[in-house]
């Protein structure tokens, strides 16, 4: 009897050990373990399929970016799979698994934890900086790389997390880009000594943008006559618009989310007329603003993306654009291309690393580049790559202005860019 109990006990222990070995190994390839990001088992690959996790906002107010991002990512995955998949890993096909953070920063940790538990090879996504900040704590501990496609707060990459990559402009780059654009615009419109009124969303992104702006605006180059924040949950922008308009600044500048820019544009066109010559709605979705407000949004400046007819479009852009339009019946926006490039970066890293292990992918991401015809849809810059601090060495930044109810590229001044017009709201 005693002998049988011992045998049973040994069998049980053996079963437990075997089970632990099976779950710890993970997918098809095994790179190193316990890399710089912590204990990192290889994952995300089963039977010729590599799973990438997209942790972003598929519902809630930020889904206006999250959903197009996923759509762009799907197009990239389709292109890569059609071209033979990840050849160094036996032609493994890419698939994307969604983790919805519901436009709620608290969900960043929850969904990142779910993604790690689902053993994805890598993560991309994030529209709200606070969501990315929380989620990347999880993936850093797990040693899994995360390409941030929408959270622009500098803190995302300034924490020094080796596995976190900034796939778009961060706050500093964006602030410097807008600073340069204002200089260009002031010259074009003949504004001497321009004054600026700033309103910003009081999420990490908005507050850090203001700091980055102040850092870029040394001397200061432009006088900031009004600067105030509003809660992320603001739905009534009438007092925000009134306050900006009453500042009598030459330039009105909002750093908020898509609904903020849309509503402020509507307030300025319908109620609070301003003497400002420039109205920058940096977080607004130009596709939505133009389709819903039309000529009422004339003069509004927003971030832009490559579009048919833009000069210098790289090879492959038109096909990707048409596939997107055919599949989703809408134009891609900035986040669509962020998702697109994120998947191409990860595919290139998988090719180079010949592994789905987190540390190997992280190391490979620092070395790969996207060029025209190979995952880079932007005319400028010609090459996308991550620098030493895991941000893009040169991030794309375009600006559109609504003229006669349509978006036109006004900056950078590449050939055939339209002439900038003063805001007449």
């Amino acid at each position: 009897m005693k002998h049988r109990r011992s045998l049973a006990g040994l069998a049980a222990v053996g079963a437990i050990v075997l089970a632990a070995c099976a779950s710890g190994g993970g997918g098809a390839s095994t790179g190193g373990n316990a890399g710089t990001g912590g204990g990192a088992a290889a994952g995300g690959s089963t039977s010729g399929t590599i799973t990438l996790g997209e942790v972003t906002d598929f519902t809630g107010v930020a889904s206006t970016y999250g959903v197009p991002e996923n759509q762009g990512a799907q197009i990239a995955a389709d292109e890569i799979n059609a071209a033979g998949g990840i050849k160094s890993l036996g032609g493994a096909k890419l698939q994307i698994q969604k983790f919805d953070t519901q436009s709620n920063p608290d969900q960043g940790v929850t969904q990142a934890t779910a993604a790690v538990a689902a053993k994805i090879a890598a993560v991309f996504g994030g529209e709200i900086s606070d969501t990315v900040l929380g989620g990347t704590n999880v993936t850093q501990r797990a040693g899994i790389p995360w390409i941030d496609t929408g959270g622009v707060a500098d803190e995302v990459h300034k924490r020094g997390y080796s596995t976190v990559f900034q796939g778009i402009e961060d706050n500093t780059q964006e602030a410097e880009s807008y600073h340069a654009f204002i200089g260009f615009a002031a010259k074009q419109l003949g504004i001497a000594d321009p004054t600026v009124a700033i309103s910003y969303s009081q999420a990490s992104y908005g507050q850090e943008f203001l700091q980055a702006w102040q850092a870029a605006n040394v001397n200061p180059t432009y006088k900031v006559v009004s600067s105030f924040g509003y809660p992320l949950t603001t739905t009534d922008f009438s007092s925000v618009a009134a306050r900006m308009a009453s500042s009598n600044a030459d330039i009105l500048f909002n750093m908020g989310y898509p609904a903020d820019g849309l509503e402020l544009t509507q307030e300025f066109s319908a109620k609070y007329h301003t003497s400002a010559k420039l109205w920058l709605a940096s977080g607004a979705n130009y596709v939505a603003v133009v389709s819903q407000l039309g000529a009422k949004s004339n003069g509004t400046i927003m971030g832009y993306v490559p579009a048919p007819g833009m000069p210098g479009l790289p090879a492959g852009f038109t096909q990707a654009y048409q596939e997107y339009k055919k599949k989703f019946n809408t134009d891609p926006n900035s986040q669509s291309w962020s998702g697109y490039t994120a998947v191409y970066f990860l595919a290139a890293a998988l090719e180079k690393a010949k592994s789905t292990a987190g540390p190997a992918l992280t190391a490979a991401l620092k070395q790969v580049t996207l060029t025209h015809g190979h995952g880079n849809p932007y005319p400028v810059p010609a090459v996308l790559k991550f620098g030493q601090d895991n941000t893009l060495v040169e991030a794309p930044g375009y600006y559109t202005q609504v003229q006669n109810g349509a978006s036109v590229l006004v900056y950078p001044s590449i050939a055939d860019a339209a002439k900038l017009l003063p805001y007449a709201g």
Partner: protein, 283 residues
């Protein structure tokens, strides 16, 4: 000038809160139901106006009659649902119905329209210049509707036979029943009317609001605030409370840090309850 603009903005925003609060105070005061889906029906009204504009080419004012009929039918169906669950398991059942409707309506709107914020201005009626700002006629019409609605509800409840029946049921349903007042029908009528008011309110607001499927939640919070300050069952109180909250929000947002925009009305409510603890009690 800036102060004037903020006051006007606050009054206009406040009239929206009042409009929603009038319907809510009716369902709470007479129907005796805390309908958590009240704000959601405002959201349905927003998207109904958008739907009629996009599909039938009717602006919200042209679509008012079909909208009102539709919301009366919806309201009666919801009232039946409340009454059925209330009969089965009491007030908890009614609360659960409200919550279920809140989640269902939000989910349906998200499926049909996605989370993309939407806006439309139909018809374009121009505006009036006040303190250097242009106040669109669409917002002025909504404010006038609020006052008319509140006045109509007040006089109906005070002077009409049906109104007296509602007040009797609100005071004591059992005693009212002894006098021949059919309490269940009266309560259902109150719920139906409140939902119809909510839906039509959404249609009036649609031309100057950015819509999202979860807009109903913020309207519900406003409705609660209005009822607490204005008093349950008091339509004119709802008007005054809504306007006050709107103005406080606008002034704090305009002069102080915008974090006070959310906090200030809540502090007003707290202060009100401290000074008048009987506030929010039905009369």
């Amino acid at each position: 000038m800036f102060f004037g603009q903020l006051v006007i903005a606050g009054l206009l925003t406040g009239s929206v809160y009042s409009m929603i609060g009038v319907g809510f105070t009716l369902v709470l005061g007479v129907g005796k139901i805390a309908n958590f889906a009240h704000g959601s029906f405002v959201g349905v009204g927003l998207y109904f106006a958008l739907f009629m504009w996009q599909k039938a080419g009717l602006n919200p004012y042209e679509a008012l009659v079909p909208g009102l009929l539709a919301f009366i039918l919806i309201g009666w169906a919801v009232a039946e649902l409340f009454e059925w669950r209330g009969r089965k398991i009491g007030e908890i059942g009614e609360l659960l119905v409200g919550l279920a409707l809140l989640l269902t309506i939000g989910g349906l709107l998200e499926v049909l329209y996605t989370d993309n914020p939407r806006s439309f201005e139909a018809p374009s009626l121009g505006g009036v210049s006040v303190f250097g700002a242009t106040v669109p006629w669409t917002e002025i019409i909504a404010a006038i509707f609020t006052l008319a609605l509140a006045a109509a509800t007040y006089f109906f409840v005070r002077l009409s036979r049906w109104g007296r029946a509602m007040r009797a049921v609100a005071e004591n349903a059992t005693a009212a029943g002894l006098y021949g007042v059919r309490a269940p029908i009266t309560q259902r009528a109150a719920v139906t009317a409140s939902i119809a008011i909510a839906g039509v309110s959404g249609m009036f607001i649609a031309p100057f609001t950015v819509m999202t499927p979860d807009a109903g939640t913020s309207y519900l919070i406003s409705a609660f605030a209005v009822v607490i300050i204005g008093g349950i069952g008091r339509t004119m109180g709802a008007v005054a409370a809504g306007l006050a909250i709107g103005v406080v929000e606008a002034l704090t947002g305009g002069y102080l840090s915008s974090v006070w925009t959310t906090l200030a009305p809540l502090l007003v409510i707290l202060g009100f309850l401290l000074v008048r603890p009987e506030a929010g009690v039905a009369k």
